[in-house]
């Protein structure tokens, strides 16, 4: 995914090139936002996590290892920040245990779609680890290998988590009347 171009943009960012920054953000803001949204289920939190993800990435740009893909690095930050936000949510107890607040924020029209709500509810019932592999596989369309790199786990762990997560999702979706 644009590895060489990403590296060129990162080098320009290190030199203070605002246009390179805008290009890099433009390239990844949508996938990062989608990962955060599917992990969290609310538009406001997804936007906040997306912003934090990029901030952390650029704060630590000098620690980025160019041998690895930039998108792996930024997705990993996005997933970790989403999990941090889920933990904060749990601590605050404002929304209950991973409960989704449907129809919040600018994506209300999208999320009122029955299908999206069903899937988001099934995702919310998964553990964070299982949710992360499903989101990266199904909503970001990454390979087992990329997911393993992003989450820093063995590929066989990706497969086993995916298998368990899908099994749980199937039960959840069938419980909501979806026939699979």
């Amino acid at each position: 995914m644009h590895k060489d171009h990403d590296l060129a943009l990162i080098e320009d960012c290190k030199k203070g090139d605002q246009q390179a920054l805008a290009s890099l953000v433009r390239r990844y803001e949508r996938p990062v936002y989608n990962v955060a949204y599917r992990m969290l289920g609310t538009a406001d939190e997804a936007a906040d996590v997306s912003q934090t993800t990029f901030l952390k990435a650029f704060e630590n740009l000098n620690r980025y290892n160019p041998e690895y893909k930039f998108f792996s690095w930024i997705y990993r930050i996005a997933v970790n920040e989403s999990i941090n936000q889920l933990n904060r949510r749990k601590r605050l107890g404002e929304l209950g245990d991973d409960e989704v607040a449907p129809g919040e924020g600018p994506d209300e029209s999208v999320d009122t779609d029955k299908l999206s709500v069903q899937i988001q509810a099934a995702l919310a019932a998964l553990s964070e680890d299982h949710r992360a592999v499903v989101v990266l596989r199904h909503f970001s369309e990454h390979s087992y290998r990329d997911i393993a790199m992003m989450l820093q786990i063995p590929e066989k762990t990706v497969k086993s988590r995916l298998f368990s997560a899908r099994k749980a999702m199937k039960v959840q979706l069938e419980g909501k009347g979806v026939s699979l």
């Binding site: 090139d17 538009a43 997306s50 087992y144």
Partner: protein, 247 residues
């Protein structure tokens, strides 16, 4: 089915198998009804999840992110220091540097930009010329105009902004075939400014008049003559346009 077979079925449904793995899966599916059922269930689940559309992030997100990230400054902190790394200015040497200082001084004297005689103001580094393109916008609390001027091989972007609150502007001429040459402003009160060879990003408020001077960039790759401009307020895009050097 054992765990290995289940993993094989899953990898097949995910398109992760090589030719040998696919052949192994095909053989399993041919001989096992349970394997076929498992495989079909996974395919149905994948198809179901695949129906969910990708979401559009809020329009303000890009501005929020870019506005929050502080990149290292391209050069030293002061305006004069920032000019020092500019190849165009280096080419002109001391005389051009002096011309910029003179320009600023005259602008600081309160000249109306649109009435400025560039021939007198900036001597060798700029000239008043023909208007190639123009962009005017008016939004609640913000009004502005930008003119693209040309004379000979010199180009100028002439900004005239009037904003009640902070406004950020991004100018990108990386596709234009032009490169930054010099900058002059009427009031030295830009909150932030970041210059590179092909871009300028600044933040200001109140009335601002300034000129970005550009010259053709011989190293440009397939230039299209377009300069992109975008204005933001509170991280939301207010107005954007493309100005072109070509008729």
């Amino acid at each position: 089915m054992n765990n290995e077979q289940l993993q094989l079925i899953q990898a097949g449904a995910d398109g992760e198998l090589d030719a040998a793995g696919q052949a192994e899966l095909d053989a399993l599916l041919e001989h096992s009804a349970a394997a076929r059922e498992q495989h079909e269930t996974l395919l149905r689940l994948n198809a179901f999840l695949g129906q969910v559309p990708s979401l559009d992030p809020p329009e303000s997100l890009h501005g929020r992110i870019v506005g929050a990230i502080k990149l290292p400054k391209p050069a030293g902190g002061g305006l004069a220091e920032r000019f020092n790394f500019m190849p165009g200015l280096l080419r002109y040497g001391f005389a051009a540097g002096l011309a910029v200082v003179v320009t600023m001084a005259v602008y600081q004297g309160g000249s109306q930009l649109n009435g400025v005689d560039y021939d007198k103001l900036v001597g060798t580094i700029s000239a008043r010329g023909a208007e190639l393109d123009r962009f005017d916008f008016s939004e609640p609390g913000v009004q502005g105009s930008v003119r693209l001027l040309e004379r000979g091989d010199q180009f100028a972007l002439e900004f005239d902004l009037d904003a009640e609150g902070p406004v950020r502007f991004d100018v990108n001429f990386s596709q234009s075939g032009l490169r930054f040459d010099a900058f002059a402003q009427a009031d030295l009160n830009l909150d932030e400014m970041s210059l590179t060879k092909n871009s300028l990003v600044g933040r200001t408020a109140g009335s601002q008049r300034f000129v970005v001077l550009m010259r053709p960039d011989a190293s440009a790759d397939a230039p299209n003559g377009q300069i992109s401009l975008e204005f933001f307020q509170a991280d939301a895009s207010l107005a954007r346009t493309l100005l072109t050097t070509r008729p």
